[in-house]
């Protein structure tokens, strides 16, 4: 974990308002595990006291990349960043994705920036499988050529049908499961995306006895476990529940651990 000043090398629009920001962060890059995130102090936002969390999309050499979309104050301010600008970067933070248990069959499920959040994992996993990508519309589907280049079988669903199957990504998943041979290997799912999607993955994991690792998106304060902002309701072995910090114990949790009630995972 480091707090460094990173220089903007490049910023470009992917499509649909998504941008890739390239930062020079030699001290961070070597330590990044798939599923970890960085906490960004957005420059020129003097009235903001909080950093903004972003999954690490790529981390190679001394360059760290973030894929993001301008949705609010901070991310919109980030769209003005230009080469030569500097910003403070805290990371890598959080517990990322565990590696695949030998013999398991991996699947990926992603929505929105989740595709970026799964990229490092997708590259690192020793076995490739099916990657289910969902979004509202075609521009929300990202990184497809990259995942295909890694050997993933990318299947796409958009709610408006503008790309791939019309509907939710869960439909694709259900079809895939239905068509799957019943003595195939144990499924290990890795998911990142909107809460509803994660909950749907968790439900299937429960039903079909998959292992499912979900990366949750909670508002964050400190990012390091000190402020207790980012908590998520999780089950204890004793049948009780506790709040766990998604910045520290997460953002990746075993889906069976999570209590999916309104208060706990809203």
């Amino acid at each position: 974990m480091h707090c460094v000043t990173a220089e903007v090398i490049h910023q470009e629009v992917v499509h649909g308002g998504y941008r890739v920001l390239q930062l020079r962060a030699p001290d961070l890059v070597p330590h990044v595990q798939p599923g970890q995130f960085v906490h960004v102090r957005v420059p020129h936002m003097e009235a903001a006291v909080l950093r903004r969390p972003f999954s690490v999309y790529k981390a190679d050499g001394d360059v760290l990349q973030i894929l993001y979309k301008g949705v609010g104050k901070g991310t919109r301010t980030m769209t003005f960043l230009a080469p030569g600008d500097t910003l403070s970067l805290l990371g890598p933070l959080g517990h990322g994705f565990p590696t695949l248990q030998p013999g398991n069959d991996p699947i990926l499920i992603a929505g929105g920036y989740g595709m970026a959040a799964l990229y490092l994992l997708a590259r690192q996993l020793p076995v490739k499988g099916v990657a289910f990508f969902g979004g509202r519309s075609a521009p929300d589907i990202l990184c497809v050529p990259e995942f295909e280049a890694l050997g993933w079988d990318v299947r796409i669903a958009t709610e408006d049908g503008s790309l791939g199957t019309a509907g939710r990504v869960t439909v694709l998943m259900d079809d895939w499961w239905a068509a799957r041979s019943h003595d195939a290997a144990h499924v290990e799912a890795y998911a990142c995306g909107p809460n509803g999607m994660l909950q749907a993955v968790a439900a299937r994991a429960q039903q079909h006895d998959w292992t499912a690792w979900v990366s949750v998106d909670r508002n964050m304060g400190c990012g390091v476990g000190a402020c207790l902002t980012c908590v998520l309701k999780t089950r204890t072995p004793e049948g009780d529940w506790v709040w766990q910090r998604s910045c520290t114990e997460g953002p990746v949790f075993d889906s069976r651990q999570i209590v999916w009630d309104a208060e706990g995972a809203s």
């Binding site: 974990m1 480091h2 707090c3 102090r41 003097e46 009235a47 903001a48 006291v49 909080l50 950093r51 403070s88 805290l90 909670r218 508002n219 304060g221 400190c222 990012g223 390091v224 476990g225 000190a226 402020c227 207790l228 902002t229 980012c230 908590v231 506790v242 709040w243 520290t248 208060e263 706990g264 809203s266």
Partner: protein
């Protein structure tokens, strides 16, 4: 180089810059980023006699130059703190101040007594001012009698340096400062967060899971400076200035109006090294202006009226 040491009763600190309760965890959280031993003291998140879960999320909400929080004082309980965190803290030289709270006077006394027996606790900060507790604890902060009773009771239960932390939402902060002094406190700290709320106009619900919360950060700094000034003039015991410190200038304002020490809160979230940057800035200022020590600068506000 100027002498940065300050004391709050028997609590000796190498620098006047502490980190505020609830904003720096229990020690390990920032340890990879900040050299804990360079802090004046570490004030840990509020500890109660029993473990507490805290409030439902959202627990924080960003406001203009400020932060609204309703964490709700989750904590592992005094036993949990002693077993889970004190061993780590004991490996460091930084003084440990434990922020304590309770729902009743008995609970305050219980946690104070237990911590007094533990090895590695250097002072107690008594949180009477957390706005996020339902069971009447809030009253301790704004009712002079209740406040006096809780401080007296904790005083009787411990010989550790005792630092009541004052609630800012009172008309006469001097009265609370004096009550703490009369009850035998070794120092006082202020301010705690200011009761506040935000509403989401689309859902028409409060932005915080708890409904209301406490406002902190740069936004409240000028308010905190006035409070600290008034409190420092009311008492002889040391005052710890807290509220909206983001740089050395902010901290120096507290010292100039009469604080012995300061604590950095919300700004650690923005930049984990704020407390150490503030320390360096204070040292530099003292040297530049020829003050031999922090104590020499204290209370040097030029103001007659």
């Amino acid at each position: 180089m100027a002498d940065l040491q300050v004391s709050i009763g028997a609590l000796k600190m190498k620098t006047p810059v502490m980190v505020a309760s609830g904003t720096f965890g229990y020690g390990p959280e920032y340890a990879q980023l900040v050299d804990l031993n360079q802090l004046g003291a570490i004030v840990v998140k509020g500890i109660a006699s029993e473990p507490t879960k805290g409030n439902p999320p959202p627990r924080t909400f960003e406001t203009p130059s400020g932060l609204l929080n309703a964490i709700g004082l989750p904590n592992p309980g005094v036993e949990g703190f002693i077993t889970e965190y004190l061993p780590f803290l004991r490996q460091h030289t930084v003084p440990v101040v434990v922020n304590i709270w309770g729902r009743t006077i008995e609970e305050y006394v219980a946690v104070a007594r237990r911590l007094s027996e533990a090895d590695g606790v250097h002072a107690l900060e008594v949180n009477v001012s957390c706005p996020n507790i339902k069971e009447g604890s809030a009253l301790f902060g704004t009712d002079l009698d209740a406040f006096t009773r809780v401080v007296e009771a904790v005083r009787a239960a411990t010989t550790l340096p005792l630092i009541p932390k004052l609630a800012p939402n009172v008309a006469d902060i001097g009265a609370f400062a004096r009550a703490a002094e009369n009850a035998g406190a070794d120092g006082i700290s202020l301010i705690n967060s200011l009761p506040a709320m935000a509403v989401n106009i689309e859902t028409r619900r409060p932005e915080l899971g708890n409904g209301t919360g406490g406002l902190t950060g740069a936004a409240i700094h000028p308010f905190a400076v006035k409070m600290v000034w008034e409190a420092a003039r009311a008492v002889q015991i040391p005052v710890i200035g807290i509220g909206g410190i983001t740089n050395a200038r902010d901290a120096l304002e507290f010292l100039i109006v009469g604080a012995h020490a300061v604590a950095v809160g919300t700004a650690s979230f923005t930049d984990p090294n704020t407390a150490l940057d503030v320390t360096a800035g204070i040292a530099d200022y003292l040297d530049r202006h020829g003050y031999p020590s922090v104590d020499a600068l204290r209370g040097t506000l030029k103001w007659e009226r």
